[in-house]
Symmetry: C2
């Protein structure tokens, strides 16, 4: 493969999603391949945040809970996300963080099968999922079994209460077959909780079709909701009335403004709210999600696949010392591409110094997020060219690239 600049530009010109690129702030001199860690800023968010701050908060003050429909935002934004993941509008709500939502779902769901004592998850799953699981297991009196990816199916059994999996692996990009695994777990009598953080907004999802009952997901990656945006959770309608959140906050009460001492869970998905939602963060998330309203999710995935294939092929030719750890088959992976290199950290820093922003993931992986809404084929070709330059010259050996920052 020996692509000319004209050829990649022609592909960008023919890209049916190309117009979306102009809806984002993309700094000069930067090729942003970390939108799966923090999505880029939608231009519309600048105006919507200014409005929420200066007009809604500043002028309407407390009245905005009614007048600007703040009070409905968790449900309203949840319904918009539901539309992207094959859920019903009343099956998704925005609340808290992925970590807190995982805790809610694990404790609520575990109580449905008190005789089953195992919480099963994957070794090397995103660590906050495992940490939260360790706390949830303690309070639900479950045994947390963390097994290698290849042993998960064999690990399902008569004792399994919950299976906690991340749909797309944060490091390798490997993707589970949601329908198949959910069905296998279900046959064993277990419920599966899916973490969609590295899927939603990029990878095809159809939770209803795939029989998913419980899920959480992140607002600040492909949904472009802003740093630390609120997360969402999904509970299939059939299960909602049987679950009670361990975090029984007033926003999940059937009558939050009756101020009664006794807790009565709200009907439906609202019972999974806890405290007052952070409206500045919530409205920024809504602006990010609104960008997807007219996006053809199939076209989004088609472009992700094309970006991945281009990256993989160019890197294979130009940077043979990098070992791709992401599966090549589209149905087996997410929307990022990762490589192993003994000096992945330094290489990542050297790339950032030249404006190519990817991510290091310990101990030896460099990861590039492929966000089809705002990346183009030329970005990919240029990123690989810059990487080849750094490898050719040994530029990553500069001692300043070995200094570890707080967040890496």
């Amino acid at each position: 493969m020996n692509l000319t600049l004209e050829a990649v530009r022609a592909r960008d010109a023919a890209d049916p999603l190309r117009a979306y690129r102009d809806r984002f702030v993309l700094p000069d001199g930067v090729i942003y391949l970390d939108g799966n860690s923090l999505g880029a800023l939608p231009k519309a968010t600048i105006a919507s945040q200014a409005d929420v701050v200066a007009r809604q908060w500043g002028q309407s003050l407390i009245r905005s809970w009614n007048d600007h429909r703040w009070i409905e935002a968790p449900q309203r934004v949840g319904a918009k996300i539901a539309d992207l993941i094959g859920a019903r509008p009343d099956e998704v709500i925005v609340a808290d963080s992925v970590s807190v939502n995982l805790f809610k779902l694990m404790l609520a769901a575990a109580s449905l099968a008190p005789e089953r004592g195992q919480l099963l998850s994957e070794a090397g799953n995103f660590h906050t999922d495992l940490h939260i699981a360790s706390g949830a297991a303690e309070f639900a009196r479950l045994r947390l079994d963390v097994v290698e990816r290849g042993r998960i199916e064999a690990g399902l059994g008569a004792e399994t209460n919950l299976l906690l999996l991340t749909h797309v692996h944060y490091k390798t990009g490997e993707r589970f077959d949601m329908a198949r695994i959910t069905a296998l777990a279900s046959e064993a009598g277990a419920r599966t909780i899916w973490d969609l953080s590295h899927s939603v907004g990029a990878v095809p999802l159809d939770l209803g079709r795939d029989g998913a009952e419980l899920a959480v997901g992140c607002g600040y990656k492909y949904l472009n909701g802003g740093p630390g945006a609120p997360a969402f959770l999904y509970v299939a309608s059939s299960l909602q009335e049987r679950l009670v959140s361990p975090l029984r906050g007033w926003m999940g009460h059937a009558a939050p403004f009756a101020f009664t001492d006794d807790y009565v869970p709200a009907p439906g998905i609202a019972r999974f709210l806890a405290g007052t939602p952070p409206m500045l963060a919530m409205t920024a998330l809504e602006s990010g999600v609104d960008l997807f309203a007219e996006v053809d999710m199939a076209a989004l995935w088609t472009k992700s696949v094309a970006l991945f294939d281009l990256f993989a092929e160019l890197a294979m030719q130009a940077c043979p010392e990098l070992a791709c750890v992401s599966p090549r088959e589209p149905e087996r992976r997410g929307s990022h591409i990762s490589f192993r290199h003994p000096n992945a950290y330094e290489l990542c820093q050297a790339l950032i110094a030249q404006g190519v922003i990817g991510d290091f993931r310990a101990p030896d992986v460099i990861r590039f997020g492929l966000t089809p809404l705002y990346l183009g084929y030329e970005d990919i070709a240029r990123a690989v060219e810059i990487m080849r330059g750094i490898l050719d010259t040994g530029g990553w050996r500069d001692p300043r690239f070995a200094v570890r920052a707080k967040v890496t």
Copy 2:
């Protein structure tokens, strides 16, 4: 008491905190007496939010976690709040909501005395505290006993594990003697968790002096941190290393970016973080808290007392049909004044229609927040005059004021 307009204006002119009023957005035609529900917008927040969105997120993207010190924000803002409440800088951290933080502290602290089976709280405490307590009690295997205010001290005994109290009551404004109650509980072998939501930023607090070990508080009331701003929690240094949060998220891990499967709590207060903090909301809170940096907290309270006394005296004269339910002695109350009236809801709506924004609290209380940073004596005099007018004319009987909004 028959104050002329000149007299109240003279008091405003002599107010040593008067200059702070200009640091807030206060809409024309509004007397805002609900800053204890949602604090007013600091003008500085408009610029700081725009900067966080457009420059930090938009231009620096993921690099802002280091370059703009986002990663340190929970501790940094926590230390600023610590300064307002008589805590050490490393005893306070900003995280999640009041509800979620209460859950963390209850479950973490309860495990220190597993032989003690009672969680004690006050009937009519802010309901989210009681709801969260009911969930925490279930998972900590405690019995939740909710007793009338006057029976709390008698309720402390050999079985009491935790005492959960709100320092200033959200409805009546009654204030507990923190030092005395904490000591009484401690003598009984119990730990007290204080909810400071209606105290912080208005009422004198000295947690260290008063022997408080555990507390939570709200960012969006007197701290003016924005709608649904993140909350904070306080754990006395002596206790921090003995507590492990039930919500073991990656931000509370000793090495969040080592991506290890096993959970190792961070040293100190950071272990109470869970997921990624919402940075747009966090930085707005910081702007609100920064306004207090040079405020003399004693002067703040002196003014709150004076605003309260003026309101109480004028209302007693002008509106004898209102029964004040807030204690008159300053040391027994917070920074709001509440009245009972059989038609409190309609009266509150009629006041709002004339620009006087207070709060209704079920079933029959109307509540006015007295925020010394941006309210003046003329505001109080005019609010009472408008209220007298509504009562004189029976203006609250207008049928449109009986329609209940979603949030009241």
